[in-house]
Symmetry: C2
Subunit: 519 residues, 2 copies
């Protein structure tokens, strides 16, 4: 038996299926190698099968030992952890305080997207989403464990996390999710009896992302609900968190996003969130990244369990948030490219791309999203008679932001280019050295203490300068490139030192890069 480093070892044992196995039985495993000794909970996966999962962080020989209340004796054995294969860099960690790196030390320049419930769509749509992702530079995706109810999101999901009966479909006549959210409704669930298939399917999605080098930023809770999953009891919540974390933690590409817009989950208190955090810290021995995303009121990101700030807002705040919380800043939601009536979902491609660069130059990480209604959808949506804001039928609107599918916009095409520029920076990431009255000057975080840096990235934002007026170090020779962030070109512009003027094309979204000439 063997697995690769940061791969997953899964051990299955047969056990009782009568009664409520989720509640009435337990199983756990201990994994011991030369460099680590890890004990983890196992879980019931249905049909009388209990599982224990483990992600090794070291190579070499390991022993395992599985115990369960229904096992007469411990199940033990040995296995070998082989070196990580190509493309497996391990889980992502915080690096250099404000940045990310995989466990093997490779820098991770996060370039994310949001597809809230791509995983709850049909097999065909999921395959399409994965194919689309392969064509982008995206290396992180935010999505939900629970299904979603909101404008343009009225269909039932492919599965439910619990055994029970949904209330049946519903037309959302306006922006009135609060009418459903956290209210009693027709749904009846047994919150102590999971549908393992729901979770297995999410694991399939996590794994497919993993194969493509994409981090799965799992949104554990969210308010856009008509089924009751956002208003469970404390006991049911704890049961859910334990089960989900136990199942998902051994996948190296998992990040815990505690909530989308936690502050709209009005029944949850700070005590609740802190309780979930305690639980995750206990149940996840691998210390995956943890964040909590807000709508109006930011969570206190200085809490020690939070590894990085997951932000909704204008990327112009990224550098201030870094300073305030002393952690990496991921601008997960900073408007989406699209054509919806709501400003969060109707930015132009150029504005979206501008926001990517703004976030990056301020030492943060950009998040993409796309919300285009097709002309056909528009015809149905803009219906003054019915006030319909989305269809429930299978042919209803497909917006990348929720459903995945195809990308129709233009900004996503620029993500890979930005990521490439980021990957070419010295050290593990950028920081904002100066906002020169609207010109952003980014430098390598690793050279923070140096008066003269080896690298400068000037970003001219939405301005249309006909030339740049740059004051570089007079004693350092720099190779200068003109970067068109929209047209994705890098044009060498000679070597310069000291103060120099540089002709620019008078277009928007230009950058100038200075790299110390290697003599």
């Amino acid at each position: 038996m063997q697995t690769e480093k940061w791969g997953m070892l899964e051990l299955s044992v047969e056990g009782p299926k009568e009664g409520n196995p989720f509640l009435e039985h337990w199983v756990k495993g201990r994994f011991t190698g030369a460099d680590e000794d890890v004990t983890v909970d196992g879980f019931y996966d249905g049909d009388g099968v209990y599982k224990v999962r483990f992600m090794p962080s070291f190579e070499g020989g390991y022993r395992y030992c599985v115990q369960g209340d229904f096992l007469a004796e411990e199940m033990t054995g040995e296995f070998t952890v082989t070196p990580a294969q190509e493309g497996n860099h391990g889980p992502v960690r915080v690096a250099e305080q404000y940045h990310f790196a995989y466990a093997d030390g490779t820098s991770h320049y996060s370039v994310g997207t949001t597809c809230y419930v791509w995983n709850h769509q049909s097999d065909e749509r999921i395959a399409e989403t994965l194919k689309t992702l392969e064509e982008t530079g995206i290396n992180k995706i935010r999505f939900c464990v629970f299904p979603k109810h909101y404008n343009y999101n009225l269909r039932e999901p492919r599965s439910y996390p619990y055994e029970g009966t949904p209330m049946g479909s519903s037309v959302l006549t306006e922006m009135n999710f609060h009418e459903y959210n956290e209210k009693e409704n027709g749904s009846r669930w047994d919150y102590f009896r999971f549908c393992p298939e729901h979770f297995r399917h999410i694991e399939y999605c996590i794994l497919e992302l993993q194969k493509r080098g994409i981090e799965a930023d799992l949104i554990m809770m969210h308010p856009y609900d008509r089924w009751g999953f956002s208003s469970m009891t404390k006991e049911a919540d704890a049961f859910y968190w334990s089960y989900a974390v136990t199942r998902f933690a051994a996948f190296r590409n998992v990040w815990w996003s505690f909530a989308n817009e936690y502050d709209l989950l009005s029944r949850k208190t700070e005590e609740d969130w802190e309780g979930y955090a305690k639980l995750v810290m206990e149940k996840d021995p691998y210390n995956h990244l943890r964040s909590i995303h807000h709508c109006f009121r930011m969570y206190d990101h200085s809490r020690p369990w939070i590894t990085h700030c997951s932000i909704q807002g204008n990327p112009a705040t990224a550098n201030a948030l870094r300073e305030k919380f002393g952690k990496p800043v991921v601008m997960d939601e900073m408007r989406y490219e699209g054509n919806l009536p709501y400003p969060w979902g109707n930015a132009t491609a150029k504005e979206m791309t501008r926001r990517f660069w703004d976030a990056a130059c301020r030492g943060g990480y950009p998040g993409h999203g796309e919300t285009f209604l097709s002309p056909a959808d528009l015809g149905r949506v803009v219906n003054p008679e019915s006030g319909e804001c989305g269809s429930q039928d299978a042919g209803g609107p497909v917006l990348w932001w929720s459903h995945g599918g195809k990308l129709h916009g233009e900004s996503w095409k620029r993500l890979g280019f930005l990521r490439q520029i980021m990957e070419e920076t010295p050290g593990g990431g950028l920081m904002l050295e100066k906002d020169l009255y609207g010109i952003l000057i980014a430098v390598p975080e690793a050279e923070k203490e140096l008066a003269v840096k080896s690298y400068y990235l000037y970003y001219f934002d939405d301005a249309q300068p006909a030339y740049a007026d740059i004051a570089a170090d007079p004693d350092t020779e720099y190779e200068v490139d003109i970067i068109d962030t929209w047209n994705m070109t890098v044009t060498p512009a000679g070597t310069h030192r000291g103060r120099f003027f540089l002709d620019l094309p008078g277009n928007q979204y230009m950058a100038v890069r200075l790299k110390r000439k290697v003599l």
Copy 2:
């Protein structure tokens, strides 16, 4: 002898020309009608001529009485004030707390521009500027009494305010005005001996603006100086303010802008500014509008002498500034359309126009500016050898922002359209009712207290919505127009009530206007 209401009566007397008449003699006048009794200082206008000016605010018969230290006896007489002629609405006043109206009650929707030293250019350039202004919707212009020294502003002015010798021309090799600003230099002036011609010429400019219905927002002091006018003694400053206010106050279209970027005048203290204010209040019997403009640190606009906030910054702050200071907010400087390397001077036309609308929808008033270097100028400016940032010769760069001349951009063309939309609002001006997560909803200030307004202006900013989702009062029928603020079209879109959806073209910079249907 007669003048029209809010016109100007000027009385001249001969007097001594030996010694220093500015310092050694005085003259003053008293003007008495049935409704007012005003005493004003006069001034020495050179060549042994002393003048007293008066702007009557009422019609009918008046008496005047002029005294002077050199006059053996009072000079008295009578004159008639006739009704204001067409186009003469009197001086602009604050109205409805946050807005402006002329003295005759006509609303003034301020749509300004900045041409710092258009008045210090050649006769030909001045004529060209006036002609250009006629083609715009601009009804206010900011400009300086003193000449200006800055990038692209290296030529000597046509005249100086004082007798003396300028230091001679100078090349500005970088953004180093501080090297000159407020320093001893080669210039030698007699700060107590004005050049009346310098002021007479400014009066010519004020009058030409007046004929075109344009307010003259006179910048009395500014830091961009190589001659020493920004670093005079307290006594010289007081002498200057008294003389300038005495000369200019009787022109109905004058506004007092105490400074451009007062906070860069590092030798001036708050006590100095408050002193100038006291002086202006004493010397200007007509109470022209008073403001003081900043660069980094805003002046305390709650000071009672300040009639309105003259702001440098993003128009997104306009509504908050209204609330903070309880006064009209004029966004005099919110970037300029142009192609300079500096963000204050390289906004696109669309961004500039967006800012006009943003300011207006927040209940403020927009300020335009334009800073285009022509291709020919660029060739000379971007000179890494000389580092030259502007030419001193007559063929040097001509930027609207400083020199006037022609307009080359696109945003100015939209000013008239915006002003027309503003003029069609009920009452005297708009206020922001709500920022609906990025959609600005403006309503008439006069209907502030009403739950349901007769007029709503929805502004969708830089978004590209394919439709609008509007929640209007269910019991009120509104006539709806779709406004394309960039293409300057108003398209009727039927009547609606309650919540309704409205197809939009998916372009940026759209607005929707609701007007209560008159039954």
